[in-house]
């Protein structure tokens, strides 16, 4: 059994959640947040198609480069910064020990245009 790692998630109210994340369950950051019932929708299921798991990397970890799909999605999302990533595209692995992530603002759409 491989060991768990520690990841901190800062939610949209600024509260810090210290989470234990398994590295052997094929999970990503979006799924980790959902499994702890943090307010991450993950509506597209992890296909980099909705940006509901948009987050900012706050620690100095070297992550894998963004895929074309992830970059393309971020190119059309709101509140994008230099350190923006999609949580669903970050697999949980040993190298993420101590990772700190902040959830990006929710894409609120209160219009009634359907």
């Amino acid at each position: 059994m491989s060991k768990d790692i520690n990841i901190k998630i800062v939610d949209r109210e600024g509260e810090v959640h210290a989470l234990t994340a398994p590295t052997d369950m094929g999970m990503n950051i979006m799924e980790l947040c959902k499994s702890y019932e943090l307010p991450v929708e993950g509506v597209c299921g992890g296909m980099a198609m909705c940006a509901s798991c948009h987050c900012y990397i706050k620690s100095n970890h070297q992550l894998e480069e963004k895929s074309f799909d992830e970059q393309a999605m971020l190119d059309e999302a709101n509140d994008v910064r230099e350190n923006s990533r999609l949580g669903c595209q970050i697999p949980i692995a040993d190298n993420l020990e101590g990772l700190i992530i902040e959830l990006a603002p929710e894409q609120i759409d209160d219009s009634n245009d359907w």
Partner: protein
């Protein structure tokens, strides 16, 4: 007024399969969907993505799954109201329901099955302070009628297929002057479309601004110009009465949220896992749109939910009529004549 046995709100895989299971019980169905094609997310969002957890299909493309379902339900002659979001649910005095679409099409049935998935797909709006001041007054998120832009000066934003396709269409000899703005150098759109846009730009028929985004809107009552900031270089202001931010679609529960159903975390709460009935007698919720303890959002689970749901639907429509579970292997599929 369209009359049927079961109104199915949502024509995704679960809504479609409901037609089959209802048909085996001689119940007729009519499907309503906001999208102009059947298949829901599978058809609209990821038709070319493979699915690996449909029993007996080691791998099937989402689009193929929908094609197969359409073939499977064809004998039961379902009705379709497509391209029209269902907006109202009304109970009638005779214990039935009327579901009305935004366009005003009315459907009546004793049973409503909501298979709405993630809800309706709405355009992703950019975050600009005074955006709402110009919606429908220069800003549109869909091209409803391309003729409207004939010989006009048009600015389009986005890097997906819809942005590229419309930019190309309009630049090719439709609008007087077309500008395409995209935040990076990468495009989500089909590579052929990207090449076409580049060719049009090289030929001077399309103004292209990459690594740029619109961040300011100006006008008095109607849009007069848009200002873009660039990754490098000064802001640019472009005079235009038409800005089309085409940043793709994002799902939201939509009008269903106002139907008096119990909602929890953007899903409809069902009382039980026997028939997925909601707090409104005669209204069921199946597939990704519902929630209950142990819920898994899988197409496969939605098929199961649909199958159980129609049994209760039958009993509600024909409380005194006997029916038994029929095996298709024994009886074949007895479709409807018309």
């Amino acid at each position: 007024m369209i009359q049927t046995d079961i109104i199915i709100v949502g024509a995704g895989p679960v809504g479609l399969f409901t037609v089959f299971e209802a048909g085996l019980l001689k119940l007729r169905c009519h499907l309503i969907d906001a999208l102009p094609i059947p298949g829901g997310q599978c058809a609209e969002i990821y038709p070319k993505k493979p699915i690996y957890d449909i029993p007996a299909y080691p791998e099937i493309l989402a689009g193929e799954l929908i094609d197969n379902l359409m073939k499977q339900i064809a004998p039961f002659k379902p009705g379709f109201t497509l391209g029209e979001p269902a907006v109202d649910l009304e109970k009638t005095e005779d214990g039935q329901f009327i579901v009305r679409t935004k366009q005003g099409t009315e459907h009546k049935a004793p049973i409503v099955a909501i298979a709405g998935g993630l809800g309706v797909f709405v355009p992703r709006r950019p975050k600009i302070d005074n955006l709402q001041n110009f919606e429908e007054k220069g800003i549109a998120y869909f091209v409803k009628n391309p003729e409207f832009y004939k010989d006009e000066k048009v600015v389009i934003s986005g890097g997906g297929d819809s942005a590229l396709d419309w930019a190309i269409y309009m630049a090719e000899d439709h609008a007087a002057d077309v500008t395409l703005i995209h935040r990076s150098q990468n495009f989500r759109a089909h590579p052929d479309s990207v090449q076409k846009a580049m060719d049009l730009a090289a030929a001077g028929k399309l103004n292209l601004h990459l690594d740029s985004e619109v961040y300011k809107l100006n006008g008095n009552g109607v849009l007069k110009n848009v200002t873009l900031k660039q990754k490098e270089g000064d802001d640019i202001t472009i005079d235009t009465n038409h800005w089309l931010p085409l940043f793709g679609l994002t799902p939201k529960l939509g009008p269903i949220a106002n139907w008096g159903l119990e909602i929890e975390k953007n899903a409809i709460v069902v009382d039980n896992t026997l028939d997925y009935s909601t707090n409104i007698d005669g209204v069921f919720a199946i597939g990704d749109v519902n929630t209950y303890p142990g819920k898994l959002k899988l197409i496969l689970c939605g098929f199961h939910e649909a199958t159980l749901m129609v049994q209760s639907a039958f009993k509600r429509i024909y409380p005194d009529k006997k029916n038994v579970l029929k095996y298709t292997t024994v009886n074949g599929v007895q479709g409807f004549e018309e």
